[in-house]
Symmetry: D2
Subunit: 351 residues, 4 copies
Amino acid sequence: MKKAKIIGAGGYGGVGIVELLLKHPEVEIACLVAKDQTGMAMSDLYPHLKGFCDMTILASGDLGTDVDVDIVFFSTPDGVGMNEAQQYLDKGVKVIDYSGDFRFNSALDYADYAGRLGKPAEHHAESLLSQSVYGLPELGLSDFGQADLVGNPGCFAASVLLGAAPLLANDLIVEGSLIADCKTGVSGAGKKPAPGFHYPARYDNMNAYRLSGHQHVCEVEKQLGKLSGNEQPITFTSQVVPATRGIMSCIYAKANDNTSAEALKDLYESFYAGKHFVRVYDASADIGTANVRGSNFCNITVSKDERTGTFRVVSYIDNLMKGQAGNALQVMNLLLGLPEEMGLDAPGQYP
Amino acid sequence: MKKAKIIGAGGYGGVGIVELLLKHPEVEIACLVAKDQTGMAMSDLYPHLKGFCDMTILASGDLGTDVDVDIVFFSTPDGVGMNEAQQYLDKGVKVIDYSGDFRFNSALDYADYAGRLGKPAEHHAESLLSQSVYGLPELGLSDFGQADLVGNPGCFAASVLLGAAPLLANDLIVEGSLIADCKTGVSGAGKKPAPGFHYPARYDNMNAYRLSGHQHVCEVEKQLGKLSGNEQPITFTSQVVPATRGIMSCIYAKANDNTSAEALKDLYESFYAGKHFVRVYDASADIGTANVRGSNFCNITVSKDERTGTFRVVSYIDNLMKGQAGNALQVMNLLLGLPEEMGLDAPGQYP
Amino acid sequence: MKKAKIIGAGGYGGVGIVELLLKHPEVEIACLVAKDQTGMAMSDLYPHLKGFCDMTILASGDLGTDVDVDIVFFSTPDGVGMNEAQQYLDKGVKVIDYSGDFRFNSALDYADYAGRLGKPAEHHAESLLSQSVYGLPELGLSDFGQADLVGNPGCFAASVLLGAAPLLANDLIVEGSLIADCKTGVSGAGKKPAPGFHYPARYDNMNAYRLSGHQHVCEVEKQLGKLSGNEQPITFTSQVVPATRGIMSCIYAKANDNTSAEALKDLYESFYAGKHFVRVYDASADIGTANVRGSNFCNITVSKDERTGTFRVVSYIDNLMKGQAGNALQVMNLLLGLPEEMGLDAPGQYP
Amino acid sequence: MKKAKIIGAGGYGGVGIVELLLKHPEVEIACLVAKDQTGMAMSDLYPHLKGFCDMTILASGDLGTDVDVDIVFFSTPDGVGMNEAQQYLDKGVKVIDYSGDFRFNSALDYADYAGRLGKPAEHHAESLLSQSVYGLPELGLSDFGQADLVGNPGCFAASVLLGAAPLLANDLIVEGSLIADCKTGVSGAGKKPAPGFHYPARYDNMNAYRLSGHQHVCEVEKQLGKLSGNEQPITFTSQVVPATRGIMSCIYAKANDNTSAEALKDLYESFYAGKHFVRVYDASADIGTANVRGSNFCNITVSKDERTGTFRVVSYIDNLMKGQAGNALQVMNLLLGLPEEMGLDAPGQYP
């Protein structure tokens, strides 16, 4: 068995990767590290794990954290992985970071991202940026078998990129016309209570937020630019709805020729041929976020308003799976030379 | 006291107008008519009304339905009002119809609408269409004091029209670039149980539907055409989220010049000056559908992605109030010569 | 117009009484005081109030807080009202306190209550306790027209007392057999975010809590003791379910004779004759918390398992109305000599 | 691989067992039968299963339904299994029925049950009743290795029996004092839409129902009678809350001696020693239905109100797992001589 270390085990990203690793046939959890809740059993923090993961959550540097592992997951906020990744890479340990720390290949790009969050622009591991890989295998932009250091995508970014990639890769749209209207469940904001996510404040409430510019746009624009050879700005609207899991993104763009909806669907199917976790459906299919809930799949429909010449792509993911821990496990498989779907090829529970 | 008759009292549109009329100082309920649940007390169908509205729900034609009234509400599906409106108008009774029957001024326009619903194209009261008035007072397109017959807007339409009207009225956008991405709570689908609205099927589920063309688009395009002098197609996406009340519409359009977000906000405030039920907020305001829940207000923010030259308007309403019964009561006030806000000027309950 | 001051305006209890006073024909809001959010407009804190209550929230002692008023609401945690009530009473101002500070008539009883919350046992206004009145008018235990100082009931307590009072007043049950199984929506825990009320932690989650003894039991036992002349312990279980508003309490007790369910219903109807806000329904009625949502009503069904000789009473209230602000307004009306139902006699909105 | 047939595949009980069998290492699905939706792919009915279970749903008697199998699941309403079980038993196929058809060992007991549902009292396979086994392995009442025909428990019954069994088995309580106050999520009512489970009618609504006697009480009383040697009536209240999965039952009974809460906990731990799917927690543990969501576990806390001498047991299950398909799979394992936990030993996903 290979071994994994999880840093930031206490949050939703941490418990998500723990749940997945508990079912994985080839990789096991070596140790759990967190900043808060140290000294607690993981199963005291998450009682559903009683009997499955009773390991103690350790503080960084505690006895027991310096174990040999094959892979480290940083399920941590921006600014943690950049300070600690090098030490693992030096030992030949693969690193997957959930934050924005390694989603970019230059300090300049990172600074743009950090600025949108009101965080310091400086990157503390600039030298690593050139080797970091953006962790969305379906885009076909990298050889993960050769990678050591991966920035796991933002949840909105994964949703929009999977929805929009074929449009750009096939050069189908008018530059500057791309719009992503994205709705997320509340778990996307993490585990920490906040006024806007208090049950009574959220139960019958939907809203748009951060209208001046969500930080996930940066990575979307970068990756789409790689696909199209021509980076271009997109209009992006982040929204929260009263759900727990799920992102539904509606993506709009002006067609640059008369490609039909049917032809577009064919192009999507070609682009995602062999990509296990992306499924393209008819636009009339009765699907929603509930149908990807708990699984690593991205379900997509494509359609077109012929009157306005506008493509409409709807992309559905579980923000905690394809948008976070599920995708991270998929990347882990690739980094460790295991079959991409290992431990992930399951449909979720319904309802 | 003036008197109102409600046809289709058993549904959400019916109970909504009943609740409002119970609080209205100048208009009282004369009789309740429905197709189902006849013979029941309204308060047996809706137990919260016990002691407030214990009237029996009558069948059309029952003794007690032929009472003198000043106004009739048709809270009925398409195809009912068109068969019955004339008899009320002949007696000088004002008519407000919630369906699509009187939202258009020509049989051709109605046929387009009906076709999208898979309903017969023929209109049974063609001669009335020229006098029917589209019931959204804030657009400033009609003199409601002179009107007798009003088609109450569709809920999505109300939301999109209030959000988009100033863009068109001020000729600010590139033709064909208008996109409306609309999310509704489940009550918009009415009271009748259906698989997609069964609690376990809906509780953590959001989805887009009717992607080939929602019927509310027709009236939006007609009304915006009147404002701009130039009817144009819009791209529209209807979505359902796990909420009960509320519509959030994100409206996008390419700016046709360099109007700034600030200037746009000024134009919105001017357009809605004196329009009591529309409130324009800063784009950074922390608002959502919960803040219009139970009230007749439409809250709007405007912003712009300067990089793409795209305006973004977010419009929030309660689909059962400004999107249905609340707007109908507002129109009733105007038709009866009462102050527009009478019985409506209240903030809803929170949380 | 009479004038009211609200201390603790920022929480759910504060906004609840503000909403009600805005609709009250005889009492208006003179000033809003809070500990946090001072300096904000009430309508910035609660955007649905924009245009309805734009008053600034003041800090205690700010200019503008020393205004002449007829009544003060302390919508504050335990320990605030006891320190400030005297100064208002001295000026002839009536006081209604939402906390446990004035729900008891002796320091000893208060100490028991405080102990269950882990709070200091000492009461800072012991001399006022003998004159304080427990604020549940339907129990018929006090003359509110003579009262100056009222302790508004706890939400669970209001629910259980209204459900159980006729059992005790009519001496129908075996001593020690009374059980109250109470489920509340999340708003009962107030506005402050907490891990257990974070949307993702609560959305499909119900749980029992504080099983060693909820503090509301104390006042239930005291008041039931006054009705029966014989204070007795009750078994009480507090639970939270994924709802926002509403308390459903199931109350069980062994019958001490062969009183039938029908006879019990008659006794309940007699006990609550003339009590506007309590409605007794058949046990087969299709009612739930949604039917009291937003209103000050308590709906009750009574039944009996004849095989075990056990009475079962189910009591439904809106925890923020009859369980808090609605009841406080009702008490205010009585204290000020106004009709008990004034400003409260409305059915709520559905759905 | 052994083979399973699922009759009634279209409902929640059907999709639940399909999901579990897809993960089971030793048993695979041979065919799916249903009354409605025949001819559809299972993955069209449940899109999350696309690529996992694309089998066609067959009508009874269709070509392909007469396959050799080792076990049949009747996920059907009362009255189906009784007509069809014999033919499978004759071929040596094991039968697990989800309905009440085989939960009783006499026609008289069945008639009592059926009467509460307003169904015909007659049982069509009376001769099978003596060999049918009540399917709750943790009660220790049967040798499942010898059984051929099992009645899977009702969801409420499973919850109450697991909570109450040690009280009765250890003779701890006063006869006639047992009360079960049970709250279920909406999925317990199945997949079929109904007015009370329509999203807008349910979202902020909890209610008690069928107060004259829920049918699950019959089997609870029978099984508890077997444990105590003395059948006795229990008082039972079924309630629905706005959740999808989960049952929380609060069970009360008068202690017949001075057994303490600590001693009670020890007795529970002894009773459930070696019972993998029952976990006993401290009464102060922060647990709810969310912690058993998606898993086959039953979590229990025990406490006592010393003042009233009343035991309080709180039992948490996922109604679709330990309350239905999960328990059925556990029973299948036992019937087929497989390890009891096979394919079931997983913690669910959180949140």
